[in-house]
Amino acid sequence: MDFPILSTIIFLPLVGAFFILLSKSKDNKSAKYISVFTTLINLILSLFLWYSFDNQIVEFQFVEEKVWIENFFKYKLGIDGISVLFIVLTSFITQICVISCINSIKLRIKEFLIALLVLETFMLGVFCSLDLLLFYLFFEAGLIPMFLIIGVWGGARRVYSAFKFFLYTLLGSVLMLVAIITIFWLTGSTDVTEIYQIKIPEQYQTILWLAFFSSFAVKLPMWPVHTWLPDAHVEAPTAGSVILAAILLKMAGYGFLRFSIGMFPLASEFFVPLVYVLSLIAIIYTSLIALMQDDMKKLIAYSSVGHMGFVTLGVFTFTTQGIEGGIYQMISHGLISAALFLCVGVLYDRMNSRMINDYGGVVSILPKFSLLFIIFVLGGLGLPGTSGFIGEFLVLLGAFKKNFLVAVIASIGVVLAAAYMLWLAKKVIFGEVKNDKVKILKDVNYSEGFVLSILVILTLFFGFYPEPIFNTISPSVNNLIDVYQFEINSKISNIN
């Protein structure tokens, strides 16, 4: 394909951001139009990309390659079945964020939209990069707009949270940079496809895997480096929380698939017990904490950590069901957690409170909102018929093949998820109206209702008919597993 569609998708938001910058500072209307328009075009382009993506081919498609620095650093993009879904998810979620924040952000809306669009560029770049250094650039650059979104438009403790977020993630990434330099030194290339071909010696794999892991584990986040997430979510504005939960966390899951397993299969195998233990702790530990929260955003944030625990568990089973389930779980969590944060945003915009105890009996006043909220709560607890179920179920199925006990313990997390999610619904939605402020609330307006309804439709649609996603990812996933199995087998035959 001659037309550089990936670059277009990546840099279109940046162009949009530039135009917003040029628009008159008093006139926020044009900024709003530009942002909606840009993200819409981007969404259409991504859907077109998904449509024209050939899911019979295992190799990377739509590859674009330009030498940037001779013999060292290439600008190389390309997608496979896994990344194309994340591109669609990213442009979709950004679109939703733009629509929702246009009305809810009152202060410096122009700058906010610029940050959001710049962030979109970086996130899309992460999912398209086929060069380690390019990936690193996008991966790290994404921190800056997010840092600003939390630090400028956040709540009362925004500065603390923004710094915590920034330092935590930076710390992990530094090690990743060192690892990338080491890889270049070992193989003479930063091109991922080339590195796949050149086998990295086993003794290096372990240490390099750990370096990448430290970065991804923080971003995902895994226990015990998860504590930035609840703070960041609580303080971030709604759109920030949505992006954070729906996409930023997925970058790490994607990183595990693309880099950790792809480049270091032997080390990945070696560290499986570590990943399992951390995932299990994440699932149980954070679910228990979520049970005790009195802040809605914190509760959802902790539940996110638990859900991402399922992702790592699934990915590191190296079974078709596990990996496909992990990816499915990421997509589905992207939809459901985004929707839950939007729902909290709807309440927060009206009441200025995130505290669960300030609510109660919302269903009598906001029936439409409550219906939507309940559906997302059910998705969050993995009810069959919602997309949340399929991901969790496949992950557990995959985990079961590897280790009985791990799957059993992880299943307990599903029971706990039901407990905290229903508890949230009970305290917020049901019961008598205790707070007089709740009595005068208005139900969801047109744009809120529209956005949430789309998310409901998608959550249910992918719960009943997940075929489109499985068709797209399964060739890539099977390829990943084949390569991995080949490496492991050749190692075993070498020993023999």
């Binding site: 530990y285 799957a407 599903v414």
Partner: protein, 635 residues
């Protein structure tokens, strides 16, 4: 036609919910009509299957396709599912109609109707599934509807708590079911029932390693599946949600918590009979849990005062009967009892609802009594229900319950003997608590202080007509269907939807045994009359001499309290500890906050070097220089 049966309730549910503004009447009539159509079609299917032997499997859509996992949405009609769809749609249709009258004062009727229809849809999905995953979908779906309906009066805190409790206890059971499903897929590579059942015999001796010990594969699978069944069917230790579920409106209790949803567990065990037959251990477990539940629930029902709770415990106890029937391998008898029980228990619940309606939401039987002349119609219907439940000769309960005891006797094994003893003793208890309920509600003195006797009046016809149909079912369903379900030709009817490894020996049962249970049931009527109506001092005497026992029963064996202490509180405490001590006091304190404090501390110290005085710098330079020179010299 098969599609219509399953999807009409869903359509009804959707138009009720979306058409909320079209008025109550619209939602009531449309949903009831659709369910009635669905029920009629089910009966046609059942008839076609029974007479013309027409069954089939209809694939709707591919659901999940991941690696070797292939799951479809499908409708599978076999003798077993055809019985279930008749029970589900028929009771559901009657409950829909009844609800029009019962919920007449409720402002949220469309929502109620919508949930009821949605429940019917989920339950149908469950019973017509041809694979475990769709069954699981229906399984959780009915759990969801049960949650929504128990918490229907969402302003009541107790209703909300009961709803959550129901969902979570069920989730514990579902956890077992899910693990059973994982195991099946892991070992057999399929979730399809018929494919699985073909593989069972070859693998019946296989062992798997679970934690550190070896277990028989089939046994392990069965035990986990049974945990699921225990949750859904409220068997002992996972039963606690069922009595609390009575917070929901009474039609819900009749439909979900008596006739249909709670029998899903029994259905699962029967459906998986090709698995259970290969595991004697699992069958014994099923029988033992069933017996404990039957006894436990009947004993608790003896002393409760809430009319709905008594019937709820009675349901629990009858489910126990079905389980121990399945546990001795008499799956068809379990299904027969499920079938008859659906009628008389729904009748009892709806009758109780009628009583509650008459007394304007009074549920304590201590506040009723002496009203039989005012509401003779309701009284007669309740009498039929009570007689059927206790197994009064020639009513439906008599055929099914006695059949269980007879088959256990035929089994001629240890477990069979226990089942006989427990079955007969529980039948005695059943009859005691049922008559107690009946007598306290309708006879004796009028005890209600809030409403005067004159104000009471009979329920409207829209409520009584469904009751009459159920009453007819309670009277005749046993007699009419006993040949089909458990008679000589039963194997022809069930075809291969129920699997028997060993056939039952058709030896003659001695007459004295046949007469034993009915005579106990008959004797218990005068006993109940004496202690509950004629001479209350006897009862008081028993109560006084056995006070600890009475308290034990009144508090339902203290099982809720036990869970509160051993599970709920520790989990809450653990969550709090992890949050406050783990996240905030350990990870944050030594992690980011600690590091930033440390850096601040170090940079503070470091900045003290920058005093700005030239002699300080000169001094440091001098030290450095001399150190360097020393180093070079020594080298």
């Amino acid at each position: 036609m098969e599609y219509l049966i399953v999807f009409l309730p869903l359509i009804g549910s959707l138009i009720c919910y979306l058409g909320k503004d079209l008025g109550n009447l619209f939602s009531e009539i449309s949903s009831s009509l659709l369910i009635v159509v669905s029920a009629v079609l089910s009966i046609i299917i059942f008839y076609n299957g029974f007479v013309h032997n027409i069954y089939g499997n209809y694939q709707i859509l591919n659901w999940i396709n991941s690696g070797e996992l292939n799951v479809n949405w499908s409708i599978n009609i076999d003798p077993l599912s055809s019985v279930m769809i008749v029970v589900v749609t028929l009771i559901s249709a009657l409950v829909h109609i009844y609800s029009i009258g019962y919920m007449s004062h409720d402002p949220h009727k469309p929502r109620f109707m919508s949930y009821l229809s949605l429940f019917t849809f989920s339950m149908l999905c469950l019973v017509v599934s041809d694979n475990f995953l769709q069954l699981f979908f229906g399984w959780e779906g009915v759990g969801l509807c049960s949650y929504l309906l128990i918490g229907f009066w969402y302003k009541k805190n107790s209703a909300n708590n009961a709803a959550i409790k129901a969902f979570i206890v069920n989730r514990v059971g579902d956890f077992g079911l899910a693990i059973g499903i994982f195991l099946i897929f892991f070992q057999f590579g399929t979730l399809n029932f018929s494919e699985l059942f073909n593989l069972v015999e070859l693998n019946s001796d296989k062992n798997i390693k679970f934690i550190f010990a070896d277990f028989n594969l089939i046994t392990t699978i069965c035990v986990f599946l049974f945990i699921g069944a225990m949750g859904k069917s409220a068997q002992f230790i996972l039963h606690t949600w069922l009595p609390d579920a009575m917070e929901g409106p009474t039609p819900v209790s009749a439909l979900i918590h008596a006739a249909t949803m709670v029998t899903a567990g029994v259905f699962l065990v029967v459906k998986c009979s090709p698995l259970f037959e290969y595991s004697q251990f699992a069958l014994n477990l099923v029988a033992i849990v069933g017996m404990i539940t039957a006894l436990f629930a009947a004993s608790v029902a003896l002393v409760q005062n809430d009319i709905k709770k008594i019937i709820a415990y009675s349901t629990c106890s009858q489910l126990g009967y079905m389980f121990f029937a399945a546990g001795i391998g008499a799956y068809h008898v379990a299904m027969f009892h499920l079938f008859t029980h659906a009628f008389f228990k729904a009748l009892l619940f709806l009758g109780a609802g009628s009583v509650i309606h008459v007394f304007r939401d009074e549920q304590d039987i201590g506040n009723m009594g002496g009203v039989w002349k005012k509401i003779p119609f309701t009284m007669t219907l309740m009498l039929i229900g009570t007689l059927a439940l206790t197994g009064f000769p020639f009513l439906s309960g008599f055929y099914s319950k006695d059949a269980i005891i007879e088959f256990a006797y035929l089994k001629n094994s240890n477990i069979g003997t226990y089942v006989v003893v427990v079955g007969i003793f529980t039948a005695f208890l059943t009859s005691l608590y049922s008559w107690r309920l009946f007598i306290r509600t309708f006879f004796g003195e009028y005890n209600n202080k809030k409403i005067s006797l004159k104000e009471l009046h009979e329920s409207p016809p829209v409520m009584t007509i469904p009751l009459i149909i159920l009453a007819l079912g309670s009277i005749f369903s046993g007699f009419l269907f006993k040949d089909i379900f458990i008679g000589q030709s039963n194997l022809e009817f069930w075809n291969d939807s129920i699997f028997f490894l060993n056939d039952f020996k058709n030896t003659k049962i001695s007459t004295w045994f046949l007469l034993l249970t009915p005579s106990i049931v008959l004797i218990s009527i005068p006993i109940a009359y004496f202690i509950y109506l004629k001479d209350k001092s006897i009862l008081d005497g028993i109560k006084k001499t056995n006070l600890p026992l009475y308290k034990f029963l009144l508090n339902k064996w203290y099982i809720d309290e036990f869970y509160e202490i051993t599970l709920v509180r520790p989990i809450k405490k653990l969550g709090l500890t992890f949050w406050k001590k783990g996240d905030e006091n350990t990870i944050d304190r030594f992690g980011p906050d600690g590091v930033s404090k440390l850096i601040k501390f170090i940079s503070n110290k470091a900045s003290q070097f920058q005093t700005g005085y030239i002699y300080d710098y000169a001094f440091v330079m001098l030290i450095g220089l001399s150190a360097l020179i020393t180093f070079l010299i020594l080298k």
